[in-house]
Symmetry: C2
Subunit: 271 residues, 2 copies
Protein backbone atom coordinates (compact mmCIF):
# COMPACT_ATOMS: atom_id res chain seq x y z
CA UNK A 1 0.00 0.00 0.00
CA UNK A 2 0.99 3.57 -0.72
CA UNK A 3 -0.27 5.76 2.13
CA UNK A 4 -0.14 9.54 2.35
CA UNK A 5 -1.36 12.60 4.10
CA UNK A 6 -3.31 14.38 1.39
CA UNK A 7 -4.20 18.02 0.91
CA UNK A 8 -7.76 18.24 -0.42
CA UNK A 9 -10.15 21.14 -0.94
CA UNK A 10 -11.71 20.15 2.43
CA UNK A 11 -8.45 20.01 4.43
CA UNK A 12 -6.03 17.17 4.97
CA UNK A 13 -6.90 13.51 5.21
CA UNK A 14 -5.09 10.22 5.39
CA UNK A 15 -5.36 8.36 2.11
CA UNK A 16 -4.40 5.23 0.23
CA UNK A 17 -3.53 4.85 -3.45
CA UNK A 18 -5.63 2.20 -5.22
CA UNK A 19 -5.57 1.68 -9.00
CA UNK A 20 -3.90 5.05 -9.42
CA UNK A 21 -6.52 6.95 -7.41
CA UNK A 22 -6.30 8.40 -3.91
CA UNK A 23 -9.04 7.13 -1.59
CA UNK A 24 -9.89 8.50 1.84
CA UNK A 25 -8.84 6.77 5.07
CA UNK A 26 -10.56 7.57 8.40
CA UNK A 27 -8.15 10.10 9.95
CA UNK A 28 -7.06 13.67 9.26
CA UNK A 29 -3.47 12.62 8.51
CA UNK A 30 -1.13 9.63 8.80
CA UNK A 31 0.07 10.66 12.27
CA UNK A 32 -3.52 10.44 13.50
CA UNK A 33 -4.18 7.22 11.57
CA UNK A 34 -1.15 5.51 13.09
CA UNK A 35 -1.93 6.79 16.57
CA UNK A 36 -5.55 5.70 16.57
CA UNK A 37 -5.86 2.71 14.25
CA UNK A 38 -6.60 -0.52 16.07
CA UNK A 39 -6.46 -2.76 13.01
CA UNK A 40 -3.65 -3.47 10.53
CA UNK A 41 -3.32 -0.71 7.93
CA UNK A 42 -3.75 -3.27 5.17
CA UNK A 43 -7.24 -4.11 6.47
CA UNK A 44 -8.62 -0.57 6.55
CA UNK A 45 -11.66 0.04 4.37
CA UNK A 46 -10.88 2.80 1.83
CA UNK A 47 -13.47 5.55 1.50
CA UNK A 48 -14.38 7.74 -1.44
CA UNK A 49 -12.08 8.65 -4.32
CA UNK A 50 -10.35 12.03 -3.86
CA UNK A 51 -9.80 13.46 -7.32
CA UNK A 52 -8.05 16.66 -6.18
CA UNK A 53 -5.71 15.23 -3.56
CA UNK A 54 -1.99 16.03 -3.30
CA UNK A 55 0.47 14.31 -0.95
CA UNK A 56 1.92 16.63 1.66
CA UNK A 57 4.35 15.97 4.52
CA UNK A 58 3.03 12.58 5.63
CA UNK A 59 3.65 12.72 9.40
CA UNK A 60 2.80 16.12 10.88
CA UNK A 61 3.28 15.21 14.54
CA UNK A 62 6.08 12.75 15.24
CA UNK A 63 7.26 13.03 18.82
CA UNK A 64 10.64 11.72 17.77
CA UNK A 65 12.67 12.03 14.58
CA UNK A 66 15.84 10.09 15.27
CA UNK A 67 18.60 9.94 12.68
CA UNK A 68 21.40 7.49 12.11
CA UNK A 69 24.62 8.82 10.65
CA UNK A 70 27.44 6.86 9.03
CA UNK A 71 25.32 3.86 8.03
CA UNK A 72 26.51 3.22 4.43
CA UNK A 73 30.01 1.86 3.86
CA UNK A 74 30.89 4.32 1.10
CA UNK A 75 29.72 7.37 3.08
CA UNK A 76 31.68 6.13 6.11
CA UNK A 77 34.75 5.87 3.85
CA UNK A 78 34.30 9.40 2.44
CA UNK A 79 34.23 10.82 5.96
CA UNK A 80 37.45 8.93 6.74
CA UNK A 81 35.95 6.76 9.46
CA UNK A 82 35.83 3.01 10.20
CA UNK A 83 32.83 0.71 10.02
CA UNK A 84 31.02 1.26 13.31
CA UNK A 85 30.12 -1.21 16.04
CA UNK A 86 27.14 0.92 17.12
CA UNK A 87 24.80 3.22 15.22
CA UNK A 88 25.65 6.92 15.47
CA UNK A 89 22.37 8.55 16.50
CA UNK A 90 21.20 12.12 16.79
CA UNK A 91 17.84 13.79 17.23
CA UNK A 92 15.74 16.21 15.26
CA UNK A 93 12.45 17.79 16.22
CA UNK A 94 9.27 17.68 14.15
CA UNK A 95 9.72 21.37 13.31
CA UNK A 96 12.46 20.36 10.86
CA UNK A 97 10.05 18.53 8.54
CA UNK A 98 8.59 19.82 5.29
CA UNK A 99 6.72 18.05 2.52
CA UNK A 100 7.29 17.33 -1.14
CA UNK A 101 7.64 20.45 -3.30
CA UNK A 102 7.99 22.79 -0.32
CA UNK A 103 10.98 25.15 -0.42
CA UNK A 104 14.07 24.50 1.71
CA UNK A 105 14.44 27.96 3.27
CA UNK A 106 17.76 28.91 4.82
CA UNK A 107 19.66 32.15 5.31
CA UNK A 108 22.41 33.31 2.97
CA UNK A 109 25.95 32.43 3.87
CA UNK A 110 25.63 28.91 5.31
CA UNK A 111 26.97 25.66 3.77
CA UNK A 112 23.88 23.68 2.72
CA UNK A 113 24.36 20.01 1.80
CA UNK A 114 22.07 17.19 0.66
CA UNK A 115 21.60 13.74 2.23
CA UNK A 116 19.29 11.24 0.51
CA UNK A 117 17.85 8.77 3.00
CA UNK A 118 15.38 5.98 3.52
CA UNK A 119 13.15 6.78 6.50
CA UNK A 120 11.28 4.17 8.53
CA UNK A 121 7.92 4.96 10.09
CA UNK A 122 7.05 3.39 13.43
CA UNK A 123 3.63 1.71 13.65
CA UNK A 124 3.47 0.46 17.24
CA UNK A 125 4.95 1.39 20.60
CA UNK A 126 8.38 -0.13 21.16
CA UNK A 127 10.52 -0.27 24.29
CA UNK A 128 13.24 -2.84 24.91
CA UNK A 129 12.17 -4.61 21.73
CA UNK A 130 14.21 -7.29 20.04
CA UNK A 131 14.88 -7.11 16.31
CA UNK A 132 11.93 -9.33 15.43
CA UNK A 133 9.50 -7.25 17.50
CA UNK A 134 10.94 -4.07 16.01
CA UNK A 135 10.55 -5.38 12.48
CA UNK A 136 6.92 -6.26 13.14
CA UNK A 137 6.29 -2.70 14.37
CA UNK A 138 7.37 -1.03 11.13
CA UNK A 139 4.38 0.76 9.57
CA UNK A 140 6.24 1.57 6.38
CA UNK A 141 8.97 3.45 4.62
CA UNK A 142 9.30 6.90 3.15
CA UNK A 143 11.97 9.19 1.68
CA UNK A 144 13.89 11.90 3.52
CA UNK A 145 16.41 14.55 2.59
CA UNK A 146 18.46 15.24 5.71
CA UNK A 147 19.55 18.71 4.58
CA UNK A 148 22.56 19.67 6.68
CA UNK A 149 24.09 23.06 7.44
CA UNK A 150 27.69 21.86 7.42
CA UNK A 151 29.41 24.91 8.88
CA UNK A 152 27.05 24.85 11.87
CA UNK A 153 27.30 21.06 12.10
CA UNK A 154 31.08 21.43 12.41
CA UNK A 155 31.10 24.33 14.87
CA UNK A 156 31.13 21.91 17.79
CA UNK A 157 31.45 18.18 18.45
CA UNK A 158 27.69 17.68 18.29
CA UNK A 159 25.95 17.75 14.91
CA UNK A 160 22.54 18.84 16.24
CA UNK A 161 22.83 22.57 15.39
CA UNK A 162 23.61 21.70 11.77
CA UNK A 163 20.73 19.25 11.54
CA UNK A 164 17.87 20.94 13.36
CA UNK A 165 17.03 24.01 11.27
CA UNK A 166 13.28 24.42 11.12
CA UNK A 167 11.54 23.44 7.89
CA UNK A 168 14.57 22.08 6.07
CA UNK A 169 14.07 18.28 6.12
CA UNK A 170 11.83 17.12 3.26
CA UNK A 171 9.86 13.94 4.03
CA UNK A 172 7.48 11.95 1.80
CA UNK A 173 5.78 11.87 -0.61
CA UNK A 174 4.19 8.56 0.46
CA UNK A 175 4.63 5.83 3.05
CA UNK A 176 4.94 2.35 1.53
CA UNK A 177 3.98 -0.60 3.70
CA UNK A 178 6.43 -3.48 4.31
CA UNK A 179 4.41 -5.96 2.21
CA UNK A 180 5.50 -3.92 -0.84
CA UNK A 181 9.04 -2.93 0.08
CA UNK A 182 11.86 -4.75 1.86
CA UNK A 183 14.93 -2.52 2.27
CA UNK A 184 17.02 -5.52 3.38
CA UNK A 185 16.51 -7.04 -0.07
CA UNK A 186 17.45 -3.69 -1.54
CA UNK A 187 16.17 -0.36 -2.80
CA UNK A 188 18.21 2.23 -4.68
CA UNK A 189 18.61 5.57 -2.89
CA UNK A 190 19.57 8.48 -5.12
CA UNK A 191 20.06 12.23 -5.02
CA UNK A 192 20.11 14.53 -8.05
CA UNK A 193 21.00 18.21 -7.83
CA UNK A 194 19.81 20.30 -10.77
CA UNK A 195 19.46 17.06 -12.70
CA UNK A 196 22.99 15.75 -11.97
CA UNK A 197 23.20 12.53 -9.97
CA UNK A 198 25.26 13.11 -6.81
CA UNK A 199 24.40 10.11 -4.65
CA UNK A 200 23.51 6.49 -5.36
CA UNK A 201 23.40 3.75 -2.75
CA UNK A 202 21.35 0.69 -1.96
CA UNK A 203 19.60 -0.02 1.31
CA UNK A 204 20.87 -3.62 1.22
CA UNK A 205 24.29 -2.20 2.13
CA UNK A 206 23.08 -0.46 5.31
CA UNK A 207 25.33 -1.35 8.25
CA UNK A 208 22.32 -1.26 10.59
CA UNK A 209 19.02 -2.19 8.96
CA UNK A 210 15.67 -0.67 9.91
CA UNK A 211 14.59 -3.30 12.43
CA UNK A 212 18.02 -3.26 14.09
CA UNK A 213 17.89 0.53 14.44
CA UNK A 214 14.43 0.51 16.00
CA UNK A 215 15.40 -2.26 18.42
CA UNK A 216 18.61 -0.45 19.41
CA UNK A 217 16.84 2.88 19.97
CA UNK A 218 14.11 1.16 21.97
CA UNK A 219 16.75 0.11 24.49
CA UNK A 220 16.88 3.65 25.82
CA UNK A 221 13.67 5.37 24.70
CA UNK A 222 10.15 4.49 23.69
CA UNK A 223 9.16 4.78 20.04
CA UNK A 224 5.52 5.46 19.28
CA UNK A 225 3.27 5.19 16.23
CA UNK A 226 4.16 7.96 13.81
CA UNK A 227 7.73 8.41 15.01
CA UNK A 228 10.33 8.47 12.25
CA UNK A 229 13.86 7.11 12.04
CA UNK A 230 16.17 8.29 9.25
CA UNK A 231 18.59 5.53 8.30
CA UNK A 232 21.59 7.49 7.03
CA UNK A 233 22.89 8.62 3.66
CA UNK A 234 25.11 6.95 1.06
CA UNK A 235 28.32 8.45 -0.30
CA UNK A 236 28.32 11.53 -2.50
CA UNK A 237 27.50 14.43 -0.22
CA UNK A 238 28.66 17.89 -1.24
CA UNK A 239 31.07 18.41 1.65
CA UNK A 240 33.08 15.37 0.53
CA UNK A 241 33.65 16.75 -2.99
CA UNK A 242 36.91 18.46 -3.90
CA UNK A 243 36.31 21.35 -3.69
CA UNK A 244 33.14 21.01 -1.55
CA UNK A 245 29.92 21.81 -3.37
CA UNK A 246 27.05 23.39 -1.47
CA UNK A 247 23.52 24.25 -2.51
CA UNK A 248 22.70 27.69 -3.86
CA UNK A 249 19.55 29.73 -4.18
CA UNK A 250 17.21 28.11 -6.68
CA UNK A 251 18.93 24.72 -6.78
CA UNK A 252 16.59 21.77 -7.14
CA UNK A 253 17.26 18.64 -5.09
CA UNK A 254 15.55 15.38 -6.03
CA UNK A 255 15.84 12.54 -3.55
CA UNK A 256 14.38 9.18 -4.50
CA UNK A 257 14.05 5.73 -3.01
CA UNK A 258 13.15 2.94 -5.43
CA UNK A 259 9.64 1.67 -4.79
CA UNK A 260 8.57 4.75 -2.83
CA UNK A 261 8.96 7.90 -4.92
CA UNK A 262 10.79 11.18 -5.28
CA UNK A 263 11.03 14.27 -3.11
CA UNK A 264 11.67 17.40 -5.14
CA UNK A 265 12.53 20.58 -3.27
CA UNK A 266 13.96 23.92 -4.30
CA UNK A 267 16.45 25.82 -2.17
CA UNK A 268 15.35 29.34 -1.30
CA UNK A 269 17.82 31.58 0.49
CA UNK A 270 16.30 34.19 2.76
CA UNK A 271 17.46 36.99 5.02
CA UNK B 1 7.76 33.89 42.43
CA UNK B 2 8.20 30.19 42.99
CA UNK B 3 5.98 28.32 40.53
CA UNK B 4 5.37 24.58 40.38
CA UNK B 5 3.26 21.85 38.99
CA UNK B 6 1.65 20.39 42.08
CA UNK B 7 0.23 16.98 42.80
CA UNK B 8 -2.94 17.38 44.87
CA UNK B 9 -5.66 14.95 45.95
CA UNK B 10 -7.69 16.28 42.96
CA UNK B 11 -4.98 15.86 40.31
CA UNK B 12 -2.24 18.21 39.22
CA UNK B 13 -2.45 21.98 39.10
CA UNK B 14 -0.14 24.89 38.47
CA UNK B 15 0.62 26.71 41.68
CA UNK B 16 2.51 29.58 43.25
CA UNK B 17 4.21 29.70 46.66
CA UNK B 18 3.05 32.65 48.77
CA UNK B 19 4.01 33.09 52.43
CA UNK B 20 5.09 29.45 52.57
CA UNK B 21 1.80 28.13 51.20
CA UNK B 22 1.00 26.72 47.77
CA UNK B 23 -1.90 28.49 46.05
CA UNK B 24 -3.69 27.38 42.91
CA UNK B 25 -3.06 28.96 39.49
CA UNK B 26 -5.56 28.56 36.62
CA UNK B 27 -4.02 25.65 34.66
CA UNK B 28 -3.48 21.93 35.16
CA UNK B 29 0.31 22.29 35.12
CA UNK B 30 3.04 24.81 34.28
CA UNK B 31 3.26 23.64 30.65
CA UNK B 32 -0.39 24.53 30.20
CA UNK B 33 -0.03 27.78 32.16
CA UNK B 34 2.88 28.95 30.00
CA UNK B 35 1.16 27.88 26.79
CA UNK B 36 -2.13 29.62 27.54
CA UNK B 37 -1.40 32.57 29.81
CA UNK B 38 -1.90 35.91 28.12
CA UNK B 39 -0.68 38.02 31.04
CA UNK B 40 2.65 38.16 32.86
CA UNK B 41 3.02 35.34 35.37
CA UNK B 42 3.66 37.88 38.10
CA UNK B 43 0.19 39.37 37.56
CA UNK B 44 -1.81 36.15 37.84
CA UNK B 45 -4.36 36.07 40.63
CA UNK B 46 -3.59 33.17 43.01
CA UNK B 47 -6.51 30.93 43.95
CA UNK B 48 -7.14 28.89 47.07
CA UNK B 49 -4.50 27.52 49.40
CA UNK B 50 -3.56 23.89 48.66
CA UNK B 51 -2.57 22.32 51.96
CA UNK B 52 -1.71 18.87 50.53
CA UNK B 53 0.24 19.91 47.45
CA UNK B 54 3.60 18.45 46.42
CA UNK B 55 5.78 19.74 43.56
CA UNK B 56 6.20 17.22 40.74
CA UNK B 57 8.04 17.49 37.43
CA UNK B 58 7.16 21.07 36.55
CA UNK B 59 6.93 20.92 32.74
CA UNK B 60 5.19 17.75 31.55
CA UNK B 61 5.03 18.63 27.85
CA UNK B 62 8.03 20.54 26.51
CA UNK B 63 8.35 20.11 22.77
CA UNK B 64 12.06 20.75 23.06
CA UNK B 65 14.62 20.02 25.74
CA UNK B 66 17.89 21.36 24.38
CA UNK B 67 21.10 20.94 26.30
CA UNK B 68 24.36 22.83 26.23
CA UNK B 69 27.52 20.90 27.00
CA UNK B 70 30.93 22.28 27.94
CA UNK B 71 29.66 25.58 29.30
CA UNK B 72 31.68 25.94 32.55
CA UNK B 73 35.40 26.61 32.33
CA UNK B 74 36.38 23.97 34.90
CA UNK B 75 34.28 21.24 33.27
CA UNK B 76 35.75 22.14 29.87
CA UNK B 77 39.21 21.79 31.41
CA UNK B 78 38.44 18.38 32.96
CA UNK B 79 37.35 17.05 29.57
CA UNK B 80 40.64 18.32 28.08
CA UNK B 81 39.02 20.81 25.70
CA UNK B 82 39.44 24.50 24.94
CA UNK B 83 37.02 27.35 25.70
CA UNK B 84 34.50 27.19 22.89
CA UNK B 85 33.51 29.85 20.36
CA UNK B 86 30.03 28.32 19.98
CA UNK B 87 27.76 26.45 22.38
CA UNK B 88 27.84 22.67 22.03
CA UNK B 89 24.18 21.69 21.77
CA UNK B 90 22.33 18.39 21.79
CA UNK B 91 18.70 17.39 22.10
CA UNK B 92 16.66 15.36 24.53
CA UNK B 93 13.00 14.42 24.31
CA UNK B 94 10.41 15.09 27.01
CA UNK B 95 10.34 11.35 27.81
CA UNK B 96 13.67 11.80 29.61
CA UNK B 97 12.19 14.00 32.34
CA UNK B 98 11.24 12.95 35.86
CA UNK B 99 10.35 14.97 38.92
CA UNK B 100 11.81 15.51 42.35
CA UNK B 101 12.03 12.33 44.45
CA UNK B 102 11.31 10.03 41.51
CA UNK B 103 13.76 7.16 41.03
CA UNK B 104 16.39 7.26 38.28
CA UNK B 105 15.78 3.83 36.76
CA UNK B 106 18.46 2.31 34.54
CA UNK B 107 19.58 -1.21 33.73
CA UNK B 108 22.49 -2.90 35.47
CA UNK B 109 25.88 -2.68 33.81
CA UNK B 110 25.92 0.87 32.41
CA UNK B 111 28.12 3.78 33.57
CA UNK B 112 25.75 6.29 35.21
CA UNK B 113 27.07 9.78 35.93
CA UNK B 114 25.64 12.95 37.48
CA UNK B 115 25.48 16.45 35.97
CA UNK B 116 24.10 19.31 38.09
CA UNK B 117 22.65 22.05 35.90
CA UNK B 118 20.68 25.25 35.86
CA UNK B 119 17.75 24.93 33.44
CA UNK B 120 16.02 27.88 31.81
CA UNK B 121 12.31 27.75 31.00
CA UNK B 122 11.06 29.52 27.89
CA UNK B 123 8.04 31.80 28.36
CA UNK B 124 7.36 33.13 24.86
CA UNK B 125 7.90 32.01 21.29
CA UNK B 126 11.35 32.88 19.98
CA UNK B 127 12.78 32.68 16.48
CA UNK B 128 15.73 34.73 15.25
CA UNK B 129 15.70 36.60 18.53
CA UNK B 130 18.51 38.83 19.69
CA UNK B 131 19.91 38.46 23.21
CA UNK B 132 17.66 41.16 24.63
CA UNK B 133 14.51 39.60 23.18
CA UNK B 134 15.63 36.20 24.40
CA UNK B 135 16.24 37.48 27.90
CA UNK B 136 12.78 39.03 28.01
CA UNK B 137 11.27 35.67 27.01
CA UNK B 138 12.67 33.76 29.99
CA UNK B 139 9.81 32.53 32.18
CA UNK B 140 12.11 31.32 34.91
CA UNK B 141 14.76 28.94 36.10
CA UNK B 142 14.75 25.46 37.54
CA UNK B 143 17.20 22.70 38.45
CA UNK B 144 18.15 19.71 36.29
CA UNK B 145 20.28 16.63 36.73
CA UNK B 146 21.46 15.64 33.26
CA UNK B 147 22.11 11.99 34.20
CA UNK B 148 24.39 10.54 31.54
CA UNK B 149 25.06 6.95 30.54
CA UNK B 150 28.73 7.45 29.77
CA UNK B 151 29.52 4.17 28.03
CA UNK B 152 26.63 4.72 25.62
CA UNK B 153 27.53 8.41 25.27
CA UNK B 154 31.03 7.34 24.16
CA UNK B 155 29.99 4.55 21.81
CA UNK B 156 29.85 6.97 18.90
CA UNK B 157 30.69 10.60 18.11
CA UNK B 158 27.22 11.77 19.06
CA UNK B 159 26.24 11.97 22.74
CA UNK B 160 22.49 11.53 22.18
CA UNK B 161 22.27 7.81 23.01
CA UNK B 162 23.95 8.44 26.37
CA UNK B 163 21.69 11.38 27.17
CA UNK B 164 18.24 10.29 26.03
CA UNK B 165 17.31 7.39 28.30
CA UNK B 166 13.66 7.67 29.26
CA UNK B 167 12.84 8.89 32.76
CA UNK B 168 16.40 9.64 33.87
CA UNK B 169 16.61 13.46 33.85
CA UNK B 170 15.28 14.96 37.10
CA UNK B 171 13.80 18.46 36.70
CA UNK B 172 12.36 20.80 39.32
CA UNK B 173 11.25 21.15 42.05
CA UNK B 174 10.11 24.72 41.27
CA UNK B 175 10.48 27.37 38.60
CA UNK B 176 11.74 30.69 39.94
CA UNK B 177 10.90 33.82 37.96
CA UNK B 178 13.65 36.23 36.79
CA UNK B 179 12.62 38.97 39.21
CA UNK B 180 13.93 36.71 42.01
CA UNK B 181 16.96 35.11 40.38
CA UNK B 182 19.62 36.42 38.00
CA UNK B 183 22.07 33.66 37.00
CA UNK B 184 24.38 36.26 35.41
CA UNK B 185 24.90 37.77 38.87
CA UNK B 186 25.51 34.28 40.18
CA UNK B 187 23.94 31.22 41.74
CA UNK B 188 25.81 28.27 43.20
CA UNK B 189 25.20 24.94 41.43
CA UNK B 190 26.07 21.86 43.46
CA UNK B 191 25.83 18.09 43.35
CA UNK B 192 26.09 15.76 46.33
CA UNK B 193 26.23 11.98 46.00
CA UNK B 194 25.32 10.10 49.17
CA UNK B 195 26.00 13.32 51.06
CA UNK B 196 29.45 13.95 49.58
CA UNK B 197 29.84 17.12 47.51
CA UNK B 198 31.04 16.23 44.01
CA UNK B 199 30.30 19.39 42.02
CA UNK B 200 30.26 23.10 42.82
CA UNK B 201 30.11 25.85 40.25
CA UNK B 202 28.53 29.24 39.82
CA UNK B 203 26.29 30.33 37.00
CA UNK B 204 28.17 33.63 36.75
CA UNK B 205 31.03 31.61 35.16
CA UNK B 206 28.87 30.19 32.34
CA UNK B 207 30.58 30.70 28.98
CA UNK B 208 27.18 31.22 27.32
CA UNK B 209 24.52 32.70 29.61
CA UNK B 210 20.82 31.85 29.41
CA UNK B 211 19.75 34.68 27.13
CA UNK B 212 22.68 34.06 24.79
CA UNK B 213 21.79 30.36 24.56
CA UNK B 214 18.13 31.05 23.75
CA UNK B 215 19.07 33.63 21.14
CA UNK B 216 21.60 31.29 19.52
CA UNK B 217 19.17 28.34 19.42
CA UNK B 218 16.44 30.58 18.01
CA UNK B 219 18.64 31.18 14.97
CA UNK B 220 17.84 27.70 13.72
CA UNK B 221 14.68 26.58 15.52
CA UNK B 222 11.67 28.07 17.23
CA UNK B 223 11.44 27.89 21.01
CA UNK B 224 7.98 27.88 22.54
CA UNK B 225 6.52 28.51 25.99
CA UNK B 226 7.38 25.58 28.22
CA UNK B 227 10.46 24.49 26.30
CA UNK B 228 13.52 23.89 28.45
CA UNK B 229 17.21 24.58 27.89
CA UNK B 230 19.80 22.95 30.14
CA UNK B 231 22.82 25.19 30.51
CA UNK B 232 25.62 22.70 31.15
CA UNK B 233 27.37 21.28 34.19
CA UNK B 234 30.35 22.46 36.22
CA UNK B 235 33.45 20.37 36.90
CA UNK B 236 33.35 17.30 39.12
CA UNK B 237 31.54 14.66 37.12
CA UNK B 238 32.22 11.01 37.93
CA UNK B 239 33.83 10.12 34.62
CA UNK B 240 36.55 12.72 35.22
CA UNK B 241 37.59 11.18 38.57
CA UNK B 242 40.61 8.88 38.81
CA UNK B 243 39.45 6.17 38.78
CA UNK B 244 36.03 7.11 37.35
CA UNK B 245 33.18 6.89 39.84
CA UNK B 246 29.73 5.91 38.61
CA UNK B 247 26.40 5.69 40.40
CA UNK B 248 25.27 2.44 41.96
CA UNK B 249 21.94 1.01 42.98
CA UNK B 250 20.52 2.98 45.89
CA UNK B 251 22.83 5.99 45.56
CA UNK B 252 21.18 9.32 46.34
CA UNK B 253 21.98 12.31 44.13
CA UNK B 254 21.14 15.80 45.35
CA UNK B 255 21.42 18.59 42.81
CA UNK B 256 20.83 22.14 43.98
CA UNK B 257 20.82 25.62 42.52
CA UNK B 258 20.99 28.48 45.01
CA UNK B 259 17.72 30.39 45.10
CA UNK B 260 15.71 27.59 43.47
CA UNK B 261 15.94 24.40 45.50
CA UNK B 262 17.17 20.83 45.54
CA UNK B 263 16.38 17.78 43.43
CA UNK B 264 16.85 14.55 45.35
CA UNK B 265 16.69 11.31 43.39
CA UNK B 266 17.67 7.74 44.16
CA UNK B 267 19.26 5.45 41.59
CA UNK B 268 17.37 2.21 41.05
CA UNK B 269 18.94 -0.41 38.83
CA UNK B 270 16.51 -2.65 36.99
CA UNK B 271 16.63 -5.57 34.60
Amino acid sequence: MHLATLATPDGTTAGVLLDGQWRRLPADDLSALLATSTQPLTELEPGEVLPDATPVQPLPRPRKVICCGLNYGDHIAETGRERPAYPTLFAKYADTLIGPDEPIELPHGVDIDWEAELAVVVGASLRNADVEQAGAAIAGYTVANDISVRDWQRRTLQWFQGKAWDATTPLGPVVVTPDELDPVRGAEVTCRVNGVERQRGNTRTLVFDCASLLAYISTFTVLRPGDVVLTGTPGGVGMAMDPPLYLRDGDIVEVAVQGIGTLTNRVRLTR
